[in-house]
Symmetry: C2
Subunit: 425 residues, 2 copies
């Protein structure tokens, strides 16, 4: 598959430096409020937000049979619902009118449809319907199993036969920059059977990636692994904030609940699956062999460098984790095939997250739980303090990018600052 | 609290018999397609659907500052979002113009705004945002714990300290009458470590009630038990279809997933919490004492008779379970207080279900798992067959009603017929 907008030779009349996450080959989608304007669907090149509603009004999408409401919208759902053929054409068209040597659009370039990104408020790009969190990193599941169960049998018997997942809370998925208050809840003191109530003490991040579904299926309809990519519109960085002490007490027998539902932070730009095409790599060999409905062909993992930064209150950035999306044992097409094998239906805007993405080396673990090994190995910060878990005043930042043929396609940031627990009255 | 529309003396010019679930004291809300018309918000008296959009056009809601889109809508969400004061006024107004001796409306009674219920297609009444399933019946949790873990310690240590719950799938909540195909998935044969793929063999219902939230909270905001009723718009019957064999294999460690997400069936009429006022009863004593944020005052349980019917392919109805909503250990106000204690936000249309409602006697168990005690005690049907679980061609029907001072407020039915698994190719 060759997607025009991905051509590494392309250059935009908006200048970007090589370290930018958003060259003209990216063309992500998001929702922004430009200065003095209503929320609208936007794209981005370098440090410039491209106002797609204004571009629409300027006639840049002429001949595409797209209604104005696709861009005059609080969410990109209506855009995604157009389907891959159309959204791919939209992305190619944006690429076209942002090209350095484009003559057709040249006369209109001075028109006011770009804004410095610093002047725009980025909003939740997607109205999320249902949200599912998977648990698809073998290293993460092994680490957790080793810590809490049995190092000899760290993975439960089902783990290599199906992508374990569970339903999560959609309402509390928030866009990067949203303040997060430390949650309160029940926890169980050591050697006690009686819970106490108070702020979470073991607050953690989870380094994940999420994908957004564009397209709808009927109840009873399956999405095969082979057709799954048609339904995956794009990806975001996903911080699945976790309250480990609340989780420990509440999660039997029905799984994590309040330990997760207080907030999840996503990056504001949906990077299309198309834009990530250059970073496809083979996934790990799956042994034992999976059931036929989970078989897939081709390269379905993505080489995306990921890192987690803790910004301490003094402003220092400490990289505490370097991981990669390519480590996933179960890929996204398998996740969708599994999720729908029982006939569960999907709607445009539904989101699935990967589960914590850990690698083999201890500095690639995607949560403080693993990095500090349950708090036994505190991590040094540049300001001289240590972290076992996340403290009030800390900001956790996820970053990610792929790089190939000199083109870097990045995700920007998923950032959240932790504030003290709210008044418990 | 005295709610005008609940007055047991009221009589409507639409005649109902005493066994009807929908006397003028009910005034539920739903969404229907009357013959040749678009979907719209409706109510019901006896066997008549009341077209609220038509009533609006006829001026019946004059002076209430309500926009037409509240009724000219595919869902009742916009109505619920008006808040309790307004929705209560709407319910009172409907009661008023349906009164037998009403003079103000008398001239308009002949106008065409009622239809026989049999002529209307009932649709999903609510656009569900997030859906949470609780596990709040002590008898159900005890039965499950006894069967699968340890009769001596059937309840897990957290059960009496918090209302255990988990996130469920919202997209597959469907309205009564929607055909349900037996799900397929992975199960583990006895004495094997290798799963097989195929149709679920242990298909079950779960007798539950669901409540719908009207009103929105911010991230970080709590709903106290005392204020929770302001957010509970109304209730439905809720069949949480369950694939027991799929559940058994998949659910560790993160909880039920595909075993539940293939479908849940709700009754089409939202019975307002106001209409259920006459059926308040005290809940069971909670021992040990709950944490302060879970304390509540007054009667927060509801005396609602529930039954489950299996209609075999020959058309016979077999009542297999008689239970009651009043058995719940954890009430709805506690569920909401717990759900939001970590700051998790709610949106209008979010739904919470009770968990299976079982009583103490074996004929009050709310699932086949319990009724047939894991398949060891088959249940006889009137056609001579037996059931351990649900078979293809069976229809499962939930019914429920409260009765007090000669007034019966019912829920109608949540009905779903099971069809064979879809082609597995």
């Amino acid at each position: 598959m060759k997607i025009e907008a991905n051509n590494p030779q392309l250059k935009s009349w908006l200048k970007t430096d090589l370290s930018s996450d958003f060259p003209i080959q990216n063309i992500p989608f998001g929702v922004a409020m430009p200065p003095g304007k209503s929320p609208r669907v936007v794209s981005r090149i370098g440090d410039w937000v491209i106002d797609l509603l204004e571009a629409y009004e300027l006639g840049f999408f002429e001949g595409m049979s797209i209604s104005k409401s696709v861009f005059d919208n609080n969410y990109i759902n209506e855009l995604m619902a157009l389907g891959k053929n159309k959204t791919r054409a939209v992305r190619n068209r944006i690429s076209l009118f942002m090209l350095e040597d484009d003559t057709f659009m040249a006369s209109k370039k001075s028109a006011r449809f770009t804004y410095p990104v610093a002047d725009c408020e980025m909003l939740m790009p997607v109205k999320v319907g249902d949200y599912t969190d998977f648990y698809s990193s073998e290293e993460h599941a092994t680490n957790v199993g080793t810590m809490f169960r049995d190092p000899e049998n760290a993975l439960l018997p089902n783990w290599k036969h199906l992508p374990v997942g569970y339903h999560g809370r959609a309402s509390s998925i928030v866009v990067s920059g949203t303040p997060i208050h430390r949650p309160t809840g029940q926890t169980i003191p050591p050697d006690s059977n009686t819970p106490v109530f108070g702020p979470c003490r073991l607050l953690d991040f989870e380094l994940e990636m999420g994908f957004v579904v564009g397209g709808e299926t009927r109840l009873g309809q399956r999405i095969s692994a082979a057709e799954a990519e048609e339904y995956i519109f794009g990806l975001v960085l996903f911080n699945d904030w976790s309250a480990r002490d609340i989780q420990k007490w509440e999660y039997v027998p029905l799984g994590p609940f309040l330990a997760k539902s207080f907030a999840s932070t996503i990056s504001p730009w949906i990077i299309t699956l198309d834009a990530l095409e250059p970073f496809r790599v083979a996934g790990p060999e799956q042994d034992p062999k999976v059931l036929p409905y989970l078989e897939y062909e081709g390269k379905k993992n993505y080489d995306i460098h990921l890192e987690v930064i803790i910004r301490t209150p003094n402003g220092d950035e400490n990289v505490v984790c370097r991981s990669n999306f390519k480590y996933m044992y179960w890929n996204m097409t398998q996740q969708l095939a599994h999720h729908t094998v029982n006939g569960c239906n999907f709607k445009t805007g539904d989101m699935c997250a990967s589960g914590t993405i850990s690698g083999k080396s201890p500095d690639s673990y995607g949560s403080m739980l693993e990095l500090s090994w349950k708090g036994t190995k505190p991590i040094k910060m540049s300001d001289g303090t240590e972290r076992k878990f996340i403290q009030d005043g800390d900001t956790v930042i996820l970053r990610g990018y792929g790089e190939n043929e000199g083109v870097r396609i990045g995700f920007g940031e998923a950032e959240g600052k932790i504030y003290p627990a709210l008044d418990m009255e």
